[in-house]
Symmetry: C2
Subunit: 317 residues, 2 copies
């Protein structure tokens, strides 16, 4: 959730005192805004949801001047926000949304602000920064190996790259934006539920944390992504199903996701101890045990559909 | 089509004289083999099909010794094959399948052999060389800008890269292997018809030439890929549909493929002359005109399904 409104947004409250958008006073804050914001963070805490609070947003483009307030005002703003919101135990910090779209700040500037948050936050909340980039490029991702970063916060559509990011940096990878299920005219907002669910499985079974969003328009209300409200998509129930599987997985189990492939058989190279194998249909949300007990090099018949996963369980003695 | 059999294949005829596989004489050829091969090339010519003849195959792995016959025998073999088969007007040369899997030859060796074919072929047939690589890598593709190469012959699953290859080299790009529709246990042989058709459209609308293959097993005969015979897949009819569209496209028309995206509307920035727009459902093989005449910046409603394309036609005066 963003503290600062994006350019054309016209929210009832903004974080600074003065007249929005033309007469804001960047040296004074708006307590009413922060009281409201704190209540919403508290609401999320109460239903068990983490709040990834985005401190800067580059998409102001000079409209209110948030993208380039100057070094001292940036720091004063961070001191105020971190002091007020940092007390909530479900708070994470994202220093910026799409940081590399901000032309007033360099990576050195972002590094400086990240170190500053690390210094003033007595609670040591999770801290990262979120890239923007043309979705087909791997460049422009922040160097998350820097010591003040607690986790990778990545915008990219190709969730099979999760393995690469985890190997490279060795910190948890949150894939905030892997495109949204919807029918928006923008390429990041119009994939099918089936495709979004596939990206979730590719990410999660590799050890990453994918993010959901929905952008269906023409349902009588604005897209969920902008305003919340009702979800119309096909993906949420399947993501719930994936979650139950990820939460119940034991250290005797392996998940192997087959994605868009539809092999009639799959070869497994199992340790020489007995295993059970189940076929998970990730779209139809079914789990079907394969009869038999398997060990060593085995070949298993599959139903020949895409979007399947295998759950392989070492049998207890 | 390969001249040399791959390791474990056991064809009734091979190109060399002697006893197959252990007693082959690499200095003498088998005229019966070449008479048969020529007839099959002629059959293809008669039905209007080009024959991309693969001269070397690295997957011998020492079985018959084809991968490392020595420089002079390689050249003698090329002289014989090019002299016999080069006369057929539907012949293209592919110097090797998956050349980079051959450990006995370097890129310099391949360059030398490619130049040699160019030198001995009086018909100047199309000439390229086909890479093998782990399908998620872009590396290991031959430098097709070299002057003896007539076209790019590429193995890669991601056909959206066609644009990049065309921009980089400026020679036609044939994507021979973009995975096969089927249910084989190997990752290159078990994508759905829908996914293969998507890859075809992504390639063709970018100006590339994609290749089809099918690898369904358990239909009572071996996979089409190995033996020919009956096609069981869902993609051939859709590829036929794509072909009719590509063959009928005029210089007043533009195709825009939307792939997996399902926008409810699409914005077009047309020249300020009247245009017709049709929605092509690439999977259901329908073409639906959108009522109205469009020019300049317009927004058009779409049915909100994936796998659509737009055909935009400038109206004749």
């Amino acid at each position: 959730m963003c503290v600062l409104p994006t350019m054309k947004m016209d929210p009832p409250l903004v974080p600074f005192a003065g007249t929005d958008p033309d007469g804001l006073d960047f040296d004074r804050y708006n307590p009413a805004f922060f009281r409201h914001f704190e209540r919403r963070v508290g609401d999320l805490r109460d239903i068990g949801v983490e709040a990834d609070i985005i401190l800067f947003d580059p998409n102001d483009r000079g409209y209110r001047g948030f993208a380039n307030m100057g070094r001292e005002r940036d720091r004063a703003y961070l001191r105020y926000v971190v002091a007020r919101l940092g007390a909530y135990r479900n708070v994470w910090w994202s220093l910026a949304n799409e940081y590399n779209f901000n032309r007033a700040k360099t990576v050195d500037d972002w590094d400086d602000l990240l170190r500053f948050v690390r210094q003033i936050d007595p609670h040591e909340r999770l801290l990262s920064i979120h890239n923007g980039n043309r979705m087909w490029e791997k460049g422009n991702i922040y160097d998350f190996s820097k010591p003040w970063i607690s986790h990778q916060s990545i915008q990219h559509w190709d969730t099979t790259l999760t393995t690469e990011w985890l190997d490279k940096v060795g910190k948890p990878a949150v894939l905030d934006e892997i495109s949204y299920e919807g029918n928006l005219g923008r390429r990041w907002g119009n994939i099918t539920g089936q495709e979004l669910v596939r990206r979730f499985w590719e990410c999660a079974t590799r050890g990453g944390y994918p993010g959901h969003g929905e952008s269906y328009v023409n349902n009588g209300d604005r897209a969920w992504l902008s305003r919340g409200g009702t979800l119309y998509g096909e993906s949420p129930s399947r993501i719930g199903f994936l979650r139950t599987i990820m939460e119940s997985v034991t250290d005797k189990q392996t998940l192997r996701y087959l994605g868009r492939h539809q092999p009639a058989t799959v070869s497994l190279d199992l340790p020489s101890r007995p295993h059970h194998v189940e076929v998970i249909d990730t779209w139809n949300m079914t789990i079907t045990p394969i009869s038999g007990v398997f060990e060593g090099s085995v070949r298993i018949g599959l139903p020949g559909r895409p979007y399947l996963a295998l759950r392989i369980t070492e049998q207890e003695n």
